[in-house]
């Protein structure tokens, strides 16, 4: 997004733009303001879109009891959609609607269930330690400084999902480039066909087809399972692999990065996180609530009214779960970070039928990444608050986070 010049936003209630750098920088203040003045904001950008900021509205849209919304598209984009039509969509199950959604989702539940994910924990832990070996060596030669987003947080989800899918670990940079094209830069981009994610993945999937393994990785699993008595179509397999790559990487990177950003600036919380292991599960949930990285989108499927606002078929609706997480109607002291918050029904992983399939994995990665970090590094601080760079768009988190290890 950095390469684009955005029209300045005149008024957040009538002209908001979630991909504007000012939104990236001030989102919580904008939501708080809108929640009291204009709880369903509107904008003509991207062909017309809505921004609800109250927890109850966001939960109701996610629940979609009346079928007013479709998940056909979940990333706001000015580009025409050429993927499979509803209810399947381009990346099942995230782009799917009922009843197909539940059937496509069920195929993926078992490999992401908590007990399966627990078995990957030692691998993730080892990998985090390896990353810190390198980062700390770098810091030693550089006045204690390394980039916690680039040298640490970024690589963790890439390495873990590559292992789960059975993709070559050294291709991490390739996935990151694809993700950038798809989620960070939702405008027209010319990608030569041979460089597309489709061509890359088709080659990887063909390799798996040529050498099927019964107890293999996730791609083997997708090639083996059946839906309505038939193997999945090539497009379905590819769409789901794309989804698993995209859904798990920038999101988890953001969650780990934001948590470290917080700890770098709040030494008391850092001390408690380290010294009181019993509060860690609560702390991790509070990081997820307070710095929820993901805003989803829906398209309006049929004309209706929401709080008196005329929602027209084809309009975009943003689902800012991070705004829901800061609604004072839903959380006590919503604007305060409370490291051992006991009551926390946050919606960082979404609400309702599309609840993040990777939530058990993401929680494991966040816990391991933070635990290893505080085991190895006693104290750290931001090198310069101004040098921290946050992403813009629907996935929010630090993309550059230079820190100095002080002890």
């Amino acid at each position: 997004m950095e390469d684009l010049v955005k029209e300045p936003v005149a008024d957040w209630a009538t002209d908001f733009d979630h991909s504007h750098p000012d939104y990236g920088a001030n989102a919580p203040a904008i939501w708080d303001e809108l929640r009291t003045t204009c709880p369903v904001a509107h904008s003509e950008r991207f062909g017309g879109m809505w921004l609800p900021t109250r927890h109850d509205d966001i939960a109701a849209i996610a629940a979609n009891d009346d079928g007013n919304y479709t998940s056909q598209r979940v990333v706001v984009s000015a580009v025409e959609d050429e993927s499979m039509p509803a209810p399947i969509g381009g990346a099942p199950p995230i782009t799917s609607d009922p009843p197909f959604h539940a059937d496509a989702r069920r195929l993926l539940l078992a490999p992401f269930a908590p007990k399966v994910i627990n078995e990957i924990t030692p691998f993730a832990r080892q990998f985090c330690n390896d990353l810190l070996d390198d980062a700390l060596a770098k810091a030693q030669a550089n006045d204690g400084v390394f980039d916690a987003a680039v040298d640490y947080a970024q690589s963790i989800p890439v390495r873990v999902i590559a292992k789960m899918l059975g993709l070559p670990p050294e291709d991490g940079d390739i996935f990151r480039r694809f993700i950038h094209q798809i989620v960070e830069n939702p405008v027209d981009h010319d990608v030569a066909d041979e460089d597309s994610i489709e061509v890359y993945l088709d080659a990887q999937i063909d390799k798996h087809k040529a050498d099927p393994k019964p107890e293999g990785d996730l791609i083997d699993h997708l090639l083996r399972v059946e839906l309505y008595g038939e193997k999945l179509s090539d497009e379905h397999v590819r769409g789901t692999v794309i989804l698993l790559l995209i859904a798990g990487i920038d999101t988890t990177w953001s969650a780990i990065g934001s948590s470290l950003w917080h700890l770098a600036q709040n030494p008391d919380d850092l001390k408690r996180y380290r010294d009181e292991p019993e509060i860690r599960p609560f702390a991790q949930e509070e990081f997820l609530r307070f710095y929820a990285p993901v805003t989803m989108a829906r398209l309006v499927a049929q004309d209706h009214e929401l709080r008196g606002c005329p929602m027209k078929q084809g309009d975009w609706v943003l689902l800012p779960f991070p705004a829901a997480n800061r609604d004072p109607e839903a959380f006590d002291d919503a604007d305060t970070f409370i490291i051992d918050r006991q009551k926390n029904r946050h919606g960082a992983f979404g609400l309702g039928i599309h609840r993040c399939l990777g939530s058990n994995l993401a929680r494991m990665e966040l816990a391991v990444a933070l635990d290893v970090f505080v085991e190895r590094i006693d104290e750290f601080e931001l090198v310069d608050p101004e040098a921290v760079r946050f992403s813009t768009g629907q996935i929010r988190g630090p993309r550059e986070l230079p820190i100095r290890v002080t002890r």
Binding site: F112, P281, R345
Partner: protein, 64 residues
């Protein structure tokens, strides 16, 4: 104290299983499985309340 769990509302966030494995297990698809039969033993009252307070889908309820 009685505990009620709704499989209909549960979306498998697994907060309950993490907070109170004495009260909840998970099945192979990641949905919660209530381990006690209605009545919550006194020593688990606090944990039961935690599960209620952290289930994003309001799928767990406590009654006297």
């Amino acid at each position: 104290m009685k505990i009620k769990y709704s499989r209909e509302l549960c979306q498998g966030h697994n907060r309950c299983y993490m907070l109170a494995p004495e009260l909840f297990d998970v099945d192979d698809e990641g949905y919660a499985v209530l381990l006690v039969d209605g009545e919550v033993p006194a020593e688990l009252h606090e944990k039961a309340q935690l599960c209620v307070d952290n289930c994003p889908e309001y799928a767990i309820e406590l009654t006297e």
